[in-house]
C-alpha cells in the first residue's frame, strides 16, 4: 500500500521534530550573564577523549577539572564554584562545531576554556566571536589565536609555534655552527609556523633536508631515509609526540642517530618514552624509551615535573595526588592545571559580578601571573600567551633546563634573556583578585 508508506514519511518527519524537541530548551538562564549564577560559573571545553589524538591529551579535561575542584573546595572565586563541562570531540572538527554550539546554545556556558587542537578549534572561532563568548586559552600554539582585531574574544595560552621555533633556531645557530641541519615537520600550520621561526635564525645553506609528514600516516620511512641520506648532524622535529617516537625508532633501524631538537609539543619525556616502548612492543621488540631520548633538546615554558622545590609543581602535584591519582602526573596534567589557574585568576580579576566583557578586560589589562617561566603577552594589542621558554635537555627521562629563560615575539624581534625570578604560587593555591 503505497499510500500508507508515504503517510509514514510524514509520520517520520513529525516524529523527528518531536524527538528533537524533547532534548530542547531545558536550561533557561535568568541571569544577565550566561553561565553565571549566585554561586556557580559554568564553563565548557572540547577535548579528544577517544580516537588517535586521545593519548596524553585526554588527561587535560580531568586535570583542569581537578584544579577547579580544588578551588571550589577552598571557597571558589568570590563565593562562586567553577563547573567545567568537557566534551569528547574525538579530534573531529565536525564534532567540535556541534559540541561547541551545544555548550554555548544549550548549556549556556560563560566561556570556552582550553579547547584543544588547531584543525578543530579554527572552525568555531568565528562562531564564538560572533556570539561574544570568551574563547580562552586554546590548547594549540597556532599563531592564529593572536588576532585581537578579527577575534576580540579569542586568547592563546602556550607560546606560539613561531616563538618556539625562533628560540630553538637561535640555540641551533649558536651551538651547532657549521653543522648540517634537517627539519622533520608536520605538514600543517603547526609545522609551517615552527619552521618560520627556525628559518629566522638557522642559516639556509646549512639546512640540507626538509621532510614533511601527514598526521595519521604512521609510515615515515621515506622521510627518515631522506634525512639520513642528507647526513644531517642535527634534526629539528616540529612534531607531535607520536611522530617524535616514530622518527627515533625509524632512524634507529637505519643506524642513524643525529642530535634531536624538538618543539615542546612533541618533547614531553613521559609521553614520548611511553610511546617509544608501545610502538616497539607492537613491532615485536623491546626498548627502553627513556634511553632513546637521552640528550633531546627542547624549549620548556613550565617548570620541570620533578622539581618539587618549585611552588607551582608542589601545588599541582598535591592537587593531582588528591583528585586524580590514577592519571600519570605528566606534562599534559601540568599544562591543564596551569591554564585552569590562569582562568581562575582572570575570573577573580573580573570582579564580584563577573561578565564576559569583564574577563576580556581583565586579560587585556595584563599583569597575570602563573606557573610559566616567562610572562604572558596579554594586552590590548596582543592575545598571545607565553612569550618564550627555556632551553632544556632530557637527562635520565627528565627535562633539565639550561641557561636563562628566553623571550621573543612571532615577528622579527630578537631572542632576549628574561632574568626576572618566577613568581611564587599563592600559599593556598587560589589566585587573589
Amino acid at each position: 500500500m503505497t499510500v500508507r508508506r508515504h503517510i509514514s514519511v510524514a509520520v517520520a518527519l513529525t516524529a523527528t521534530v518531536a524527538l528533537a524537541a524533547a532534548c530542547a530548551s531545558r536550561s533557561d538562564s535568568a541571569g544577565a550573564t550566561p553561565g553565571v549564577t549566585a554561586d556557580t560559573v559554568t564553563i565548557g571545553s572540547t577535548i579528544p577523549l577517544t580516537g588517535t589524538a586521545a593519548p596524553g591529551y585526554s588527561e587535560q579535561g580531568p586535570a583542569a577539572k581537578a584544579f577547579f575542584d580544588y578551588v571550589n573546595a577552598n571557597g571558589g572565586v568570590n563565593g562562586r564554584k567553577i563547573t567545567l563541562k568537557y566534551l569528547d570531540d574525538a579530534y573531529n572538527p565536525a564534532q567540535t562545531v556541534t559540541l561547541t554550539k551545544q555548550l554555548v546554545l544549550q548549556d549556556k556556558v560563560f566561556a570556552i576554556v582550553g579547547s584543544l587542537g588547531t584543525p578543530t578549534h579554527t572552525k568555531v572561532v568565528d562562531f564564538l566571536n560572533s556570539s561574544r563568548v570568551p574563547d580562552l586559552f586554546v590548547a594549540s600554539g597556532c599563531t592564529c589565536w593572536d588576532q585581537p582585531k578579527a577575534h576580540p574574544y579569542t586568547f592563546g595560552w602556550q607560546p606560539d609555534y613561531t616563538v618556539e621555533g625562533k628560540i630553538l633556531g637561535d640555540y641551533v645557530k649558536k651551538n651547532f655552527a657549521g653543522k648540517k641541519v634537517a627539519y622533520f615537520y608536520q605538514d600543517d600550520d603547526f609545522g609551517h609556523d615552527g619552521m618560520k621561526g627556525l628559518d629566522k635564525y638557522i642559516d639556509q645553506s646549512s639546512v640540507v633536508s626538509r621532510q614533511p609528514y601527514q598526521p595519521g600516516n604512521t609510515d615515515v620511512a621515506a622521510q627518515v631515509s631522506a634525512i639520513a641520506a642528507s647526513k644531517a648532524d642535527v634534526v629539528v622535529l616540529e612534531a607531535i609526540p607520536a611522530y617524535t617516537a616514530l622518527f627515533k625508532l625509524t632512524s634507529l633501524k637505519l643506524g642513524y642517530s643525529p642530535t634531536l631538537v624538538a618543539s615542546s609539543v612533541g618533547a614531553d619525556p613521559i609521553t614520548v618514552s611511553g610511546l617509544l616502548e608501545n610502538f616497539a612492543k607492537q613491532a615485536g621488540s623491546s626498548v627502553k624509551g627513556q634511553d632513546l631520548i637521552e640528550g633531546l633538546v627542547t624549549s620548556a615554558y613550565l617548570p620541570a615535573l620533578d622539581d618539587t622545590s618549585n611552588s607551582w609543581t608542589a601545588l599541582f602535584k598535591k592537587i593531582h595526588d588528591q583528585y586524580i591519582p590514577n592519571v600519570p602526573f605528566d606534562g599534559n596534567v601540568y599544562y591543564a592545571m596551569s591554564y585552569a589557574y590562569t582562568f581562575t585568576q582572570a575570573l577573580a580579576r573580573a570582579g564580584k559580578n563577573p561578565t564576559r566583557q569583564g574577563v576580556i578586560d581583565a586579560l587585556e589589562k595584563g599583569g597575570l601571573t602563573g606557573s610559566g617561566l616567562v610572562p604572558f603577552r596579554y594586552g590590548k594589542d596582543s592575545h598571545a600567551g607565553y612569550t618564550g621558554g627555556q632551553i632544556a635537555m632530557v637527562k635520565a627521562g627528565k627535562q633539565v633546563s639550561a641557561g636563562t629563560p628566553l623571550v621573543t615575539d612571532d615577528g622579527d624581534g630578537a631572542v632576549t634573556p628574561y632574568t626576572q625570578p618566577q613568581p611564587q604560587a599563592p600559599a593556598n593555591g587560589i589566585p587573589a583578585g
Partner: protein, 356 residues
C-alpha cells in the same frame, strides 16, 4: 458535503502519485515550520543535522534497498559535496541555491563515474571498492599539490550566510539553517518517492531481484545501476553541501570512515529501502550520541569509562533495534500501524500484503 464532492479529490488522491506526494510535502513543510519555530537554537541545529543526514541516508537507502547495490563509501560523496559548496561560496559567491545545486551535480557526476565501476562489481568486491573510496578520497586534501586549494588537514572554513533581513534582525541563524535543510529534505523525499514509483524505480527492483531475468525482460541492467549510483551520490552531495553550511567547515577529519558507516547504519536501522526509515535512522544516528554523552556526563563516572560509555550505549541501542525489528524501525511502525488499523476496523480481518 455530498458523497459526490468528496469522491473526486479522493479519487485524485488514489490515482495520482504526484498529487499525493505533493500534498504530503506541503504537510511536511508546515510541520517543519511549526516545529522549528518552537525549538531553541541548539535544537534547531540538531534538526538541521537530522535533515541533511536524512537526505544522504535517503539516497543510500534507494541505492541499497531498491537497486541492491551496497556502498560503504557514501561519506566520500558527502565530502565532495561539502568541498564543492565551500569552494563555490568562497571563490564564486554564487547564491546559496545555485551553490547547493553545484554540489548535487558534482556529487552525481562522481557517483556516475564510480557507478560505472560499481556496475561491474558484486557483493564483497563492491563493498571493498566503496570502502576504499571512503578511506582514500578525504586524504586527497593532504596531497601536496592541492594543499593550497583544499587547505590540507585544516580544511576550509565556510562562513555562514546570515538569514535574510526580511525575516527580522534577530532571526536565529540556526532556525534559518534548519529551514534550508528541511526544505531540501522535503524536496529530496518528494523526488525519491516519485522515483521509487516510476518506471526507473520498477527497473531498480527488477535488477535487485534478478539481474539475468531483468536483462531478459529488456531492462538495461548496467545503465540502471549506474544511474541509481549517480542519483544516490547526487543526494549525498546535497547533504554534503548542507553539512558545510551548517557546520561551517569542509575538512578531511569530518569525513571519516565512521561517517560512511553511520549513514549505512541509519539506512539499516530505519529500514532498508524505506524513505521514512531513512528519516528515523537519521534521527537515531544524529541524536543518540548526543543523548548518551549527556547521560554519561551526568552519571559522573571515571574518565576511562565515561569516554567510552556513549559508544557502548550507541552500540547497545543499535543491537536492540535490529534484534527487535530485523526489518528496521519502519517495519515496526508498519506492524504497529496494521495492528491499530485492525483494532479500529474489526470488520476488515485481513491486511493486504505490504510491498517493500
Amino acid at each position: 458535503m455530498t458523497a459526490l464532492a468528496s469522491a473526486a479529490p479522493l479519487r485524485l488522491w488514489r490515482q495520482s502519485t504526484v498529487v499525493r506526494h505533493l500534498t504530503l510535502s506541503v504537510v511536511g513543510l508546515v510541520v517543519l515550520y511549526f516545529v522549528s519555530t518552537s525549538l531553541d537554537a541548539f535544537a534547531n541545529l540538531q534538526l538541521a543535522q537530522v535533515c541533511y543526514t536524512a537526505i544522504a541516508t535517503a539516497g543510500l537507502t534507494v541505492l541499497s534497498g531498491l537497486s541492491g547495490q551496497i556502498s560503504l563509501g557514501h561519506g566520500a560523496f558527502v565530502a565532495v559535496g561539502a568541498y564543492t559548496t565551500a569552494l563555490l561560496l568562497e571563490h564564486l559567491q554564487w547564491p546559496l541555491a545555485l551553490v547547493l545545486f553545484g554540489s548535487v551535480v558534482v556529487g552525481g557526476a562522481l557517483g556516475c563515474l564510480v557507478g560505472v565501476a560499481a556496475a561491474r562489481l558484486r557483493g564483497p568486491y563492491l563493498a571493498g571498492a566503496t570502502l576504499a573510496l571512503a578511506v582514500g578520497l578525504p586524504s586527497l586534501a593532504d596531497y601536496h599539490g592541492l594543499r593550497d586549494l583544499l587547505g590540507g588537514a585544516n580544511g576550509l572554513i565556510v562562513t555562514p550566510e546570515p538569514p535574510p533581513l526580511s525575516l527580522g534582525e534577530s532571526f536565529p541563524l540556526e532556525r534559518w539553517q534548519a529551514w534550508i535543510c528541511g526544505l531540501c529534505l522535503v524536496i529530496t523525499l518528494f523526488l525519491l518517492s516519485n522515483l521509487a514509483s516510476s518506471r526507473l524505480g520498477r527497473d531498480m527492483r527488477l535488477v535487485r531481484e534478478d539481474e539475468q531475468a531483468a536483462a531478459l525482460s529488456g531492462v538495461p541492467v548496467a545503465r540502471t545501476q549506474i544511474v541509481t549510483f549517480g542519483i544516490s551520490a547526487a543526494f549525498a552531495g546535497l547533504a554534503g553541501g548542507l553539512f558545510a553550511i551548517v557546520n561551517n567547515l569542509a575538512a578531511p577529519g569530518a569525513f571519516t570512515l565512521a561517517l560512511s558507516l553511520s549513514l549505512l547504519t541509519a539506512a539499516v536501522v530505519g529500514g532498508l529501502g524505506s524513505l521514512a526509515g531513512a528519516v528515523y535512522g537519521a534521527v537515531i544516528v544524529t541524536l543518540l550520541p548526543n543523548w548518551t554523552a549527556d547521560l554519561a556526563q551526568q552519571a559522573n563516572l571515571p574518565r576511562a569509562i565515561y569516554a567510552n560509555i556513549p559508544l557502548v550505549l550507541y552500540g547497545l541501542v543499535l543491537i536492540v533495534v535490529i534484534v527487535v525489528f530485523p526489518g528496521g524501525i519502519q517495519s515496526g511502525v508498519r506492524k504497529l500501524g496494521a495492528l491499530l488499523l485492525r483494532r479500529a476496523r474489526p470488520d476488515r480481518p485481513q491486511e493486504s500484503r505490504q510491498e517493500t
